[in-house]
């Protein structure tokens, strides 16, 4: 799951931005290209690809800051005890 999620996330970001050399711990917000449009695309991608809805309390900038952070988010959302509800 971890490797699959990582590969999926990397593929999505690099397809959008083929010119960048992306590392898993790289702060994508520091690259300067993330706007609200791309943020929404990221949210939709995570929800569609991993079959979950991101609850409000998980929708934080730090959770989308890097591939590693997003992989951790996906793990939390797919954990058996995860309760996806808007709080």
């Amino acid at each position: 799951m971890s490797d699959t999620a990582r590969a999926d996330l990397r593929r999505f970001i690099t397809a959008k931005y083929p010119a960048i050399e992306l590392t898993d711990d790289q702060d994508i917000f520091a690259l300067g290209f993330v706007n609200s449009l791309f943020a929404m695309e990221l949210v939709m991608f995570v929800e569609k690809t991993f079959g979950t809805q991101i609850p409000n309390d998980e929708l934080r900038l730090d959770h989308f800051r890097s591939v590693n952070a997003m992989v951790q988010l996906v793990h939390r959302l797919n954990a058996p005890t995860s309760q996806a509800s808007n709080a």
């Binding site: 931005y17 010119a19 609200s36 990221l42 569609k48 409000n56």
Partner: protein
């Protein structure tokens, strides 16, 4: 009462076409002239279940697919862009509550939003910031357990009949969204008359002066993530405007085919002139192309595919500019009649220009779409 929930998409569309042909088109000039939609018409929209039929069944909606929603907004746009604008903003608010609302917010607001008993309006634009949402000056400051909001919103579609405001305001370095009942002390609504187009959409400016709301008024996450609330709602609004623009092109085509078939010139009919036929052909082609772009964006929405966001930008860009081109040709074809209130061409012409400005101007679409092209090739 017939609701979308009890009908299949084709049946809903058939009902909408009948509604538009019988109850909207015959009165569209009057709505435009009086700058108002009658309460009875808005109630009919509720009876047909059209205010927010896209909300999922598990939260009380009808679960209507987005492709069908787009076709509904095209049909309504064919009849009256003012009414379609009302569907747009109310849908944006309803979508936001359905997607980002807490359980309490959903319990309180969704049922009356779905029925239309509560009319929701989207309060983003300000006197000094339209397309540039980051320049918003409205400020929400923490006050005890709640918030105090001060600011000035402008060009608010449906503002004159608003029950619930979705207000975007700065909260510290970021932005947040708030659900504010219009009767809250400190909310002052003033109609804006004599707009160029969509005159019946009852546009208003809304001043918020020391408006106190509880902590429960904030919808969605604060700060950075509020941008996704705004972007998601604007995406739906953009889709609605794109589909409504297709309706304008279709209305221009219908009006011009009818007019040129009756009107004679010299020893023949207008319809036999090649220069007229070129304009008619352009309208047919534009309507079909724009409709396909909207359908593509709608299918991506139904699939939850993030590509829908850019597809919607493209659809709206094409459809809105096609609408202004078709409406310009429609006025030209109608001649002096096209400049009078006796024919729909003048209203369609004025309404079409609004489509190039709302939910992202043509220029913003041009730069955004081009940026995507350069980014993917670079």
């Amino acid at each position: 009462m017939s609701t979308a929930m009890s009908l299949d998409p084709e049946a809903v569309l058939a009902d909408v076409r009948t509604f538009v042909d019988d109850e909207v088109v015959p009165h569209a000039e009057e709505f435009d002239r009086t700058e108002r939609l009658p309460r009875s018409l808005l109630d009919r929209v509720g009876q047909l279940g059209l205010w927010a039929p896209f909300l999922s069944v598990d939260i009380g909606g009808a679960g209507l697919d987005m492709v069908t929603l787009g076709r509904i907004h095209e049909e309504v746009g064919r009849g009256c862009s003012g009414l379609r604008s009302m569907l747009t903003v109310h849908g944006m608010v309803s979508w936001s509550v359905g997607r980002w609302g807490s359980a309490e917010q959903r319990d309180r607001w969704l049922a009356p939003l779905i029925s239309g008993d509560t009319f929701g309006v989207f309060c983003l634009s300000e006197p000094d910031s339209g397309s540039d949402a980051t320049a918003a000056g409205t400020l929400a400051e923490a006050d005890g357990s709640g918030w105090v909001i001060n600011g000035h919103k402008k060009w608010i579609t449906g503002g004159q009949v608003a029950d619930l405001l979705l207000v975007f305001a700065r909260t510290g370095p970021g932005m947040s969204a708030f659900l504010v009942p219009s009767q809250t002390p400190g909310v002052e609504i003033t109609p804006i008359p004599n707009m160029l187009g969509t005159r019946s959409s009852m546009i208003a400016e809304i001043v918020l002066r020391d408006v106190r709301v509880g902590a429960e008024a904030m919808i969605g996450p604060p700060g950075w993530a509020a941008g996704t609330v705004m972007t998601g709602a604007l995406d739906l609004g953009r889709y609605s405007v794109a589909c409504g623009s297709v309706g304008i092109v279709q209305a221009c085509l219908d009006a011009c085919v009818a007019y040129t078939s009756r009107r004679t010139v010299h020893d023949g009919r207008l319809r036999d002139l090649q220069l007229i036929r070129r304009k008619i052909s352009d309208m047919v082609t534009s309507a079909r192309a724009a409709r396909l772009l909207c359908e593509h964006a709608g299918r991506l929405k139904d699939a939850g595919d993030p590509a829908t966001i850019m597809a919607t930008w493209v659809a709206k860009y094409h459809a809105s500019t096609a609408a202004t081109a078709a409406a310009s040709d429609a006025v030209q074809i109608h001649g002096a009649n096209g400049c009078s209130p006796d024919y729909p061409a003048a209203r369609l012409y004025r309404d079409s220009k609004i489509m190039e400005i709302i939910e992202g101007s043509t220029e913003i679409q041009q730069t955004t779409i081009a940026e995507e092209a350069y980014r993917e090739v670079a």
